[in-house]
Amino acid sequence: MELSSIRQNFPILGQKINACDLVYLDNAATTQKPIAVINALSDYYSHNNANIHRGVHTLSRRATDLFEQARKTTAQHFGVANEQQIVFTSGTTDSINMVAQGLSKLYLKPGDEIILSMLEHHSNILPWQLWAEENGGHLKVIPLLADHSLDYSAFEKLISPKTKLIAITHVSNTLGLVTDVEKIKSVANRHNIPWLLDGAQSAPHMPVNLSVLNPDFFVCSAHKMYGPTGCGILYLNERWLSELPIAKTGGGTIKTVSFEKTEYVEGALRFEPGTPNIADVIAFAEALKYMDAIGMQQIFKHESELVQYAQTLMKEIPEIDMYGIHDHKAGVISFNVKNQHPFDVGTLLDKYGIALRTGHHCTQPLMKHLGVQGTIRISFAIYNSKQEIDYFIEKLKKVIKMLS
């Protein structure tokens, strides 16, 4: 697909902000939605809306089919043969909390240790910290090397007989650095430790085949993948699909209920109590189809080119400090302008129609490690172009002048 025709699929991109063309570079926070996704939402409510599972009427069957078809589409997208391993949640944060609460019931014991990394998003820190605080557990943190990539040799040294889980980001939302999953996996497998991969920032940008990566848990959010907000997935391997204790319960998850004893269903539905987010799940499947039609490899290639292009131009601006410069990055660049507050730079660039993010990006431990209050982050999606980067660089230089 041509870039120009891709852009036309996103109605929001055509607008002006402060009389300038919108240049949307805040994709790591959330991506824009293609018309196919927007239409799926409106089609669902216009033609197919009903509560799913157990309904005998036509609409309910239709909605149920669409919902369960979405599960199959999602499983296929991630190379998963058994679609029951795909649980729909409200997003990455919800998924991680479900795993943390579930594991804390039977599996995690006082004194146990969980390994995280310095790069983690707060959503992959706080659920574990809560467990640790409430149960006398401990968090161990993989440090970073001078280039801000994970220190894999230090990682292996953190493993102890008490290590019960490794929970790690696939791609850093602040720096865009890609975790060497094979290294994590080989250590985890050698020591027989379950591991969770936070794919919130990898799933939007690169092919992710879960039957090859084979983590115990994988989580991501639809809204960062051209899909709707309030929707995401929790992938569990076969073991945890049957063994993970549920964190929440209610209607739709049972075979039989009596006040004495309830028998739960097997599979994904066990983790989906109550009426799920039917419309958004169905629209999410459209987002996945949209990405697959372009090709994840193609998306990664396009965004990598943008990263390289922008990094090269930014290296030539002497007032800029970039963090985590790397050849292999997933669509994210973090930087600061020397002696300027990110907030000022972001405020002025917004005036030129450029949407980007400033602050700590929900990674305060990483900010502390970098020795900064915050950074300015630009992040790319399939619809961004080199022309937009040229425009961004031109305006960035101008803003630097205005502030100095």
Partner: protein
């Protein structure tokens, strides 16, 4: 008391900003200049307990009282925020507490910088205005 009342100063600022018309770049350059020329807050007053937590830019506010009314000094680590602070300090310093509490500060809207006082804005300015009023309330 100050020789000019709050509304008079507001009017003066509006006239100053009218000069820029629709040229937001010059307007922001002016704001940045104001930020740079904001008298420094005494180091002893730039303590953590004087921080007004905005999400991103930090704001320090110190309030005193003398014969001329309230005396505010303030600072921020972001220069645009500092420019806004300079305007607020200029309007509210040396005014009597009653007038400060009543001030609706509509000049911010009239000079086209209202977005900086919106509750979603990550700069702590709205909280600063509230804090300025709270300090005035203590001196009634």
């Amino acid at each position: 008391m100050a020789t000019m009342g709050i509304e008079e100063i507001e009017k003066e600022i509006i006239e100053e900003f009218d000069f820029f018309g629709d040229d937001w770049e010059s307007k922001y350059e002016h704001l940045i200049e104001l930020g740079k020329s904001l008298p420094l807050i005494a180091a002893a007053d730039k303590t953590d307990d004087k921080i007004i937590q905005g999400c991103q830019s930090r704001v320090w506010l110190n309030a005193d009282f003398d014969d001329n009314g309230m005396v505010y000094t303030a600072d921020s680590d972001a220069i645009i925020t500092k420019g806004m602070i300079a305007l607020l300090v200029r309007v509210l310093s040396h005014q009597n507490p009653t007038d400060i509490i009543r001030a609706n500060l509509s000049f911010i809207d009239k000079i086209g910088l209202k977005e900086h006082l919106s509750p979603t804005r990550a700069n702590g300015l709205l909280s600063m205005v509230n804090q300025m009023k709270k300090e005035a309330l203590k001196r009634l």
